[in-house]
């Protein structure tokens, strides 16, 4: 029994190490792997929207910080390309 537990623990530990190495390569370094798991993965979602769905609306703020408008207000008779992102 102890022998089985030992090998289960070794296998699990090996998988954790492999996952950490893989994440480190993907994220750019060991510190970035931790950052990715802690801060990125909780916010990354595939989302439920599909091609053909009605586009959801949301209220936005203009660069003046005061004017509000809705995404749907920009969708009139032409395709609308939405570019989501941040500075960093």
């Amino acid at each position: 029994m102890n022998r089985i537990l030992f090998w289960v623990a070794i296998s699990f530990g090996g998988l954790v190490v492999l996952a950490y190495i893989g994440l480190s390569i993907m994220a750019g370094g060991p510190r970035d792997a931790i950052g990715m798991v802690r801060f990125a993965l909780p916010h990354m979602h595939r989302g439920k929207l599909k091609v053909g769905d009605s586009a959801p609306d949301a209220r936005l703020v203009a660069l003046d910080g005061a004017t509000r408008f809705h995404i749907c207000e920009r969708n009139h008779g032409r395709p609308l390309v939405l570019i989501f992102g941040s500075f960093t």
């Binding site: 009605s54 969708n75 992102g85 500075f87």
Partner: protein, 134 residues
């Protein structure tokens, strides 16, 4: 932004600024630090901070694409599962016609260009000459 310059006569564009991807107080990246691009911000805690960062971005890059800022409820981000970056195209009737993958690995402006080119043909204006440093 070259796609915008090429296709703004055919399609509308809207940039939506959402929560920061690599702020100083979360997953900070070396490439953002002062000796490189100097993009050092903490995650905005209020709308005024978000507006200030968005203005810094648009001014620093002379960004001419129409711009909106997600409210602190992150309503746009949540509705479109947009973080950290993502592209969509809505058609004339308000339906999703293209959904890009999550950035950065699946963020692909070439797919947007291909969608627009398929509908309106290849458009390629010459890129503006870089400004001379004084």
């Amino acid at each position: 932004m070259q796609i915008y310059d090429d296709y703004k006569d055919h399609a509308d564009f809207l940039t939506i600024y959402i929560r920061e991807a690599h702020p100083l107080d979360e997953w900070r990246m070396k490439s953002n630090e002062k000796d490189k691009d100097d993009v050092c911000y903490v995650q905005p805690k209020n709308l005024e901070q978000r507006v200030a960062i968005a203005n810094d971005f648009t001014q620093r890059f002379k960004f001419s694409v129409p711009f909106g800022i997600d409210e602190m409820t992150n309503a746009a981000n949540d509705a479109y599962a947009a973080w950290p970056e993502r592209l969509y195209i809505l058609d004339e009737s308000g339906r999703i016609s293209y959904k890009g993958g999550n950035g950065p690995f699946q963020y692909d402006p070439k797919e947007v260009r291909a969608w627009l080119a398929q509908r309106y043909g290849e458009v390629k204006h010459p890129e503006p000459a870089p400004e001379k440093k004084s």
